[in-house]
């Protein structure tokens, strides 16, 4: 099968308008009889379900949490980008598009990224209309801040809880549709297979996690909004329940998987403290607006951070990247931290951490406050006190969170930070309409591959999730459903449902019947170790080849020796985890194969064999300017398809943030 990205003709800035003007529509009477299944209720899923419901489609939405409001979009902290140019600092749709392409190291599809930039401003209008309480200036206008990899201020925020506020906005819209009866909500349900009839996605098998029952649901179309797969590393900033299962089942039923090796490792997370660690906590990148990152100039310097004078500190990001300084993109910042720690300059008891210091920001803000208040000779203490208040108003919740977790007060001593797995740019391959290679199956938000290339810029995930759900799928799904208006709902006693349910049940029973000796977490942790060390921040051919063999061996052991207690027909969190980890094993192998195949460095994918003299990622556009789309062809067997990436509206360059 050749990949058809279905990018519309015409000038880049007119493609989306042309598309909207010519796409087939479904009339209101027909929408009422067309059923759409939405998997996941994060920003993409909740916004899609709510909007499709408003349009009159019969929507069924599924989430594994106890309420749609808990999806992990809620944890996004720093903000959401939009090309509003409210700050009059030179922003535009083109600039946002350009920054996203460049940030992604020229590995994303131009037309999708441009559309994302075009609809970004509308997202802010929509959210404000819903009552999302964004931060404001004293004049009542919306406030902005800057984020990594850009030179304008286009990030809208609600303290350090932007994801929460945006998700609650989408959740409210969703619940409004539930009340109106256009959306039926299935909480504590997990999708365990896609049902394919005559080559089209026609429904799902879901497990009711409370009763353990398997349920069959028909849909004229299925919209996957199931998030990313960072938990393949065991330790990540994802929620404990975040998983690849829904997307993976779709992959095995015919949806190609795009760029699985593109994993973003976030530079500012709280370091690991012990082997019991269950997750890693991210500190918003917005901290890099005001915090300065440093390590001691001397190796193994055991002095306390505040005892090290300024001239003996190496502000290595400011030194290496004078133009962007502490605000270089995430991949660059993460690798730079690892480089310093590997070279022996790390801090803290593990030596796997660097400092993020607010001392100069506190002083700077304190002086501004003193000036505002007309204090001519403020004491050092007064300045510090006032400066701390300003920092608290900007980042208070992040400082409090850090103190709870580490027991240290970051107003007094610098944060200790280290990179952690955060976001996966890879995901189900989709065309311009966000449809996967399985007709009738769409993928939105983090679970698709489309907009961020090989590295995502900060505050662009929220933008993409809401763009896809509010403003893209409502149009593009019409292109497919307009041809389905004569398709009646297919009864769920169809043999394809029988077959899918039988397979799901068989797999669950198999997991329960192994009755081995080691827990699911044991295997998940072991898998995470392989992935972190061999398919993490820096990769090379030998490690990747080793990793593939180790994953295969560990997977075989898992299926012989895992112990899943409890039973199928009740709430059984261990059984849920077992199914997810089983899928992570398969994905992990594909990630390593993809990383091995991509014999270049780009964005977050850093192959040690390919770097510039300064240690930056060295792309090979001649051989690798394509999207890797992997077709599942049976157990441990994939075929690679390539979607060539061409650039008409942007000059492809070596990325530089100097």
């Amino acid at each position: 099968m050749t990949l058809n990205s279905k990018v519309p003709e015409g000038r880049m800035d007119q493609k989306w308008d042309n598309y909207k003007a010519s796409v087939s529509l479904v009339g209101p009477a027909n929408r009422r009889r067309l059923e759409v299944i939405v998997i996941g209720t994060g920003l993409a899923g909740a916004s899609a379900a709510a909007t499709l419901g408003e349009m009159g489609y019969k929507v069924k939405a599924f989430c594994f949490q106890d309420s749609p409001r808990r999806a992990h979009s809620i944890a996004a902290q720093g903000g959401i980008n939009a090309a509003k140019n409210y700050q009059n600092d030179g922003d535009s749709d083109y600039r946002l598009f350009y920054d996203t392409e460049k940030g992604g190291d020229y590995r994303s599809r131009e037309a999708n990224t441009y559309r994302l930039a075009q609809v970004s401003a509308n997202i802010i209008d929509q959210c404000v209309a819903q009552g999302v309480p964004f931060a404001r200036e004293y004049g009542g206008m919306l406030a902005n801040r800057s984020f990594g990899g850009v030179l304008v201020q286009r990030t809208f925020y609600a303290q350090g809880q932007t994801g929460q506020q945006l998700l609650l906005g989408a959740y409210s819209a969703l619940e409004r549709q539930v009340a109106l009866g256009t959306v039926t909500m299935y909480s504590r349900h997990e999708m365990l297979d896609v049902v394919v009839i005559d080559g089209k996605a026609r429904g799902i098998i879901a497990r009711n996690l409370v009763t353990g029952e398997l349920e069959r649901h028909f849909g004229h179309a299925v919209v996957m909004c199931s998030g990313g797969y960072g938990n393949v590393f065991y330790l990540s900033t994802n929620a404990m329940g975040s998983n690849v299962t829904a997307a993976w089942k779709a992959h095995k039923k015919g949806a190609y998987f795009g760029n699985p090796c593109y994993v973003q490792i976030h530079p500012t997370c709280i370091p690991v403290s012990g082997d019991y660690q269950s997750k890693l906590t991210l500190m918003s990148e917005s901290l890099r607006n005001d915090g300065r990152i440093w390590v001691p100039k001397k190796k193994d310097d055991n002095r306390k951070p505040n005892d090290i004078p300024d001239e003996e500190r190496d502000y290595y990001l400011e030194r290496r990247y004078p133009a962007f300084g502490n605000l270089v993109p995430r991949d660059v910042a993460s690798r730079a931290a690892k480089e310093r720690c590997d070279a022996g300059y790390g801090v803290g008891s593990s030596k796997q951490a660097v400092y993020l210091d607010f001392k100069s920001a506190i002083e700077r803000y304190g002086k501004t406050e003193a000036h505002k208040k007309g204090m001519h000779n403020p004491s050092k203490e007064e300045i510090t006190e006032m400066g701390k208040d300003v920092v608290k108003s900007k980042y208070g919740n992040l400082f409090a969170m850090y103190e709870k977790i580490t027991g240290e007060n970051p107003y007094e001593v610098p944060f200790r930070i280290y990179p952690a797995v955060h976001y996966t740019m890879g995901g189900l391959w989709v065309d311009y309409e966000l449809m996967t290679t399985l007709p009738g199956l769409y993928a939105l938000g983090e679970c698709n591959f489309s907009d961020h290339g090989a590295n995502r810029l900060g505050a662009s995930d929220l933008m993409q999730g809401l763009a896809d759900g509010y403003f893209v799928i409502p149009y593009t799904i019409g292109s497919y459903l307009s041809k389905e208006i004569r398709t009646n709902a297919i009864p769920t006693d169809h043999p394809a449902f029988d077959e899918a349910e039988k397979n799901v049940r068989g797999r669950l029973e198999q997991l329960l019947n192994i009755k081995g000796t080691k827990s699911v977490d044991h295997y998940h942790k072991a898998l995470g170790q392989i992935m972190w060390h061999k398919c993490g921040l820096a990769r090379n051919e030998k490690d990747l080849k080793d990793a593939i063999q180790e994953i295969k061996a560990l997977r075989a052991e898992f299926w012989k020796d895992v112990r899943v207690p409890g039973e199928m027909n009740s709430l059984n969190p261990e059984l849920e985890k077992a199914g997810r980890v089983a899928d992570f094993f398969e994905l992990a192998e594909l990630m390593c194969i993809d990383a091995l195949n991509r014999d270049e460095s780009c964005g977050c994918h850093f192959r040690l064999e390919h770097q510039t003299e300064d240690g930056e990622a060295l792309r090979n556009d001649k051989d690798f300017a394509f999207v890797s789309a992997w077709e599942h062809q049976g157990d441990e067997n994939w075929e690679l398809h390539k979607e060539p990436l061409t650039y008409e509206y942007i000059e492809v360059k070596q990325r530089s943030y100097k």
């Binding site: 408003e54 106890d66 309480p133 404001r136 012990g274 019991y276």
Partner: protein, 255 residues
């Protein structure tokens, strides 16, 4: 931070399902680092139970960074445990001493039936939001976001109310199992914003009606909810809700 290892006795509520009779089980557990989170301590306990061939304790959790609102646990008589303004997932074992006995129960409220062990059903909160916790605006092309200036104080106040994570600690702490803090946070958020004005009166009435229907109790102003709220949502929201309710009752004609 310096860390120590703790030996602890846990008394944990075990209940097979919503119909079964529950009871406390006692577990001894050693080698708990003070650097662990409370839920990581439960991970260690569950790993031990699995290795002993027993069923692990079911508990709700997801983000483990204090924002999704999924974790619950009534710890030593207090929702989310001893630390102020903290969810269970962010509570760390530094809060306890070697040799402590820790009692862990599910949220207890008629409107939150136990599903299993420490897991309860909080879908009543979703239904309260369905009754009016939104601005009725369809996706489309609303006016420019800066067309309506909102004073910073108003926007900040709306944010403070909107910070509620819907965990239900307020209900668990309340002797009446009232959901007033939860309801008031949403009503106050939208009452503070111009976008919330058109439905302001009906929202307060309908959400409170739904709260009553779900079997939550009434508010007698003891303030226990605010004291345990992990997001420090203020009881002033309840005062605001009462004000809204009174005003609405006088102005809205009802069937």
């Amino acid at each position: 931070m310096e860390h120590k290892n703790l030996s602890l006795t846990l008394k944990v509520w075990r209940q097979k399902n919503s119909k079964a009779q529950g009871g406390f089980e006692t577990y001894k557990i050693d080698g708990i680092s003070t650097e662990m989170s409370f839920l990581e301590m439960f991970d260690v306990l569950n790993e031990k139970l699995i290795n002993e061939g027993k069923e692990p304790v079911a508990f709700d959790h997801d983000c483990r960074e204090g924002i999704c609102g999924m974790c619950s646990m009534y710890i030593n008589g207090r929702p989310h445990g001893p630390w102020h303004g903290t969810t269970t997932c962010q509570l760390h074992m530094r809060a306890f001493n070697n040799g402590d006995t820790i009692v862990v129960e599910p949220w207890r409220a008629k409107a939150f039936p136990v599903i299993r062990d420490l897991v309860v059903d909080r879908s009543a909160f979703d239904r309260i939001i369905e009754a009016g916790g939104y601005v009725s605006v369809n996706t489309g092309t609303p006016q420019d976001a800066n067309a309506i200036p909102i004073p910073k104080q108003k926007a900040d106040a709306a944010f403070d109310s909107a910070a509620c994570i819907g965990c239900g600690a307020c209900v668990a702490a309340c002797k009446n199992s009232s959901a007033m803090l939860f309801v008031s946070a949403k009503v106050a958020q939208l009452a503070n914003l111009p976008q919330g004005q058109p439905e302001r009166a009906t929202r307060a009435l309908n959400m409170l009606d739904q709260m009553d229907k779900e079997g939550f109790g009434s508010c007698t102003h003891t303030g226990a909810c605010e004291a345990v709220c992990p997001k420090e949502i203020s009881v002033l929201n309840i005062a605001k809700l009462n004000n809204e309710y009174l005003g609405a009752s006088l102005t809205v004609a009802r069937d």
